[in-house]
Symmetry: none
Subunit: 195 residues, 4 copies
DNA sequence: TATGAATGAGTCTTCATTCAT
DNA sequence: AATGAATGAAGACTCATTCAT
């Protein structure tokens, strides 16, 4: 595949992402992609043989873009609390977003397709996030910001809560205040002053 | 609709439930139902005009069966801790179940269909559960079993965690030990001895 | 068939008439009739084996009701001109009616079903009307009201014009003024004073 | 759509025309068209999304072919009488045709679909014909061939008669002699010598 | 590489008709 | 006579996929 083709492939992936964001995973047809991209049916098949393959590439591209769970800017002298707050704020934003998130499509995809554990992007991302959070909590404990006996479990707990918020937001709707309350609850479980 | 028809309708709902359990929501066609039930195409339409309507009835039937989140047996002299443990154990069982659960289908349905808040079964069930948990925690605090400053937030937190476990289990797979660890984490946050 | 059955049959025919008036002939299903009559599917088949048979009975009932083309009241001392005007006025009313007329359904039926000439109700009615008109014109000529060299051809011409107005009204829409103009044209061709 | 596709589209329209001629409008299914054309179901939908759309194109193609009501040959030195005779002869031919005419299908279509007046092809064609006839009659009056006080009303009258003949022919059947008699009646109402 | 016409399998939905009660 | 549940054939429509150009 030449350079030009690579560009086209990337273009398709980016365009397809929007389609998946808007329609989820299962409802997207090859025609939807073709129409959105303005290319021919045959043309699409030169690059992707199914929506499943295309979706996997969308997810991978997604990963490359934010290889860090902190897409926000973090100042040099930020405390652990600062960083955690930034992280939770970003998660909150994404959780409350009705559209423009690939979340629902990803759930739909992984409900139907169970890749081997090591190939499961959602799982990798989850574990990665747990790890980073764990490090952050340990740092906070170290410098006296946080109180936490089991940083790993706490990190995992936070991730499960976030996943719960995410899915609840998409299935039953969540008000901002309800999300705030939950995130506050998480923070209060960690910071020293509250005790 | 006579008595006989009512039976048939119930039979269809029960049979359809299995189909939804096996295939999720979106992949299920009227033909799948027809085949599973061994009835004619036209016959099914006498009772349900779409898979959506049928699925709603499946969910409602589901609700009627367990109108209480504690389907397990609870002894008269059970402590709050006992009851909470029973509840979490049942949740764990359901979370780890690969199949035989309508969970995935329900998620798929509610991703695609957003009923008004008061009609949203998932939401109703969630809030109901929060309420019951809250009562349980308050009772535990009362008699000195639990330590909890904000029972409602804690109850809600537990429910979000469970929802997170549920969706993670279905999308990335969860080992029993990981679930156990998380549930233990929840319990430890509540019981007195841990402090 | 007992007396009671005859009543029910008549009830079905009358109810079905309304359905045909509203939906034309081809779009009417047995279910439409069943619903309109509030009877059972099987029940309808006891009396009529198809919409075609039912429609024929509707037409026949129609005929019995107005066995005369002059459904309006005609005073004893009416002149030929008076009678002709009454007739044309009634025709005009029917022609301009958007609904409540069986016309379209009848056209649809006879487009698809060509009964033998003697069984063709539309034809019988047409010829009958020509005959009556012819007699009327002859009477008018007799007493000097009309000028007409060939009453039969004139009668037939009038009927063709009315049929043309009818079908044009239903396919392309006709304004009242256009109908008036045409009917006036017909009258002027007959009455003496105009020459 | 490329040149080739345009040909195929035209082929479908022409083939469909025959189907509509044979079965009328309402009884024609997409399958009928597909079978007649020897193409696939999906293929047809590439060009037309319904029988209604297809039928409209058939009508439009019909119009393009004979954009003049005089499809017959008219010699240079023809009199108004000649031309009118040619016109009526063609009309007669079409009226008496049992098949090969799109008439019935058009009636069925316009019974069920009432386009805005300016979009109603039947109406446009009717008014156009009235206009041409009016011009012809005026020319005939000018040179002494015809006697007519109101050429427009007369033209309209002729068109209503023709429409009446057309619909009667298709619903009750008309003998050639009956049509001849009516057309003769029309001519006699115009030409000078008869008075 | 790229196109887009073409295919045909699959699903949805409606309807006339039957038949056990 | 009357009911209405049940059937299955038939038509509408969509979609993944192929293939000649």
């Amino acid at each position: 595949m030449g350079e030009k083709s690579a560009h086209k492939k990337q273009f398709i992936v980016e365009t397809a992402r929007q389609v998946f964001v808007e329609k989820g995973y299962k409802d997207v047809t090859m025609k939807d992609i073709v129409d959105a991209c303005g290319i021919s049916r045959g043309g699409l098949y030169l690059y992707f043989e199914s929506t499943a393959e295309l979706f996997r590439e969308v997810l991978e591209a997604e990963q490359k873009e934010k290889d860090d769970i902190f897409s926000g800017e973090i100042p040099e002298d930020a405390t652990a609390t600062d960083i955690l707050l930034v992280f939770l704020k970003e998660q909150k934003k994404e959780i409350l977003l009705k559209k423009n998130s690939i979340t629902v499509a990803a759930y739909e995809y992984f409900f139907a397709n169970k890749p081997a554990k090591k190939d499961n992007l959602l799982r990798r991302k989850f574990l990665e996030s747990v790890d980073i959070l764990k490090g952050l909590i340990e740092a906070g404990v170290e410098n006296g910001e946080f109180v936490c006996e089991d940083p790993e479990s706490t990190a995992q707990d936070i991730m499960f809560v976030l996943e719960g918020l995410r899915v609840c937001s998409q299935t039953m709707g969540l008000s901002e205040s309800r999300v705030d309350r939950e995130l506050l609850y998480i923070m209060e479980g960690l910071v020293y002053e509250d005790l």
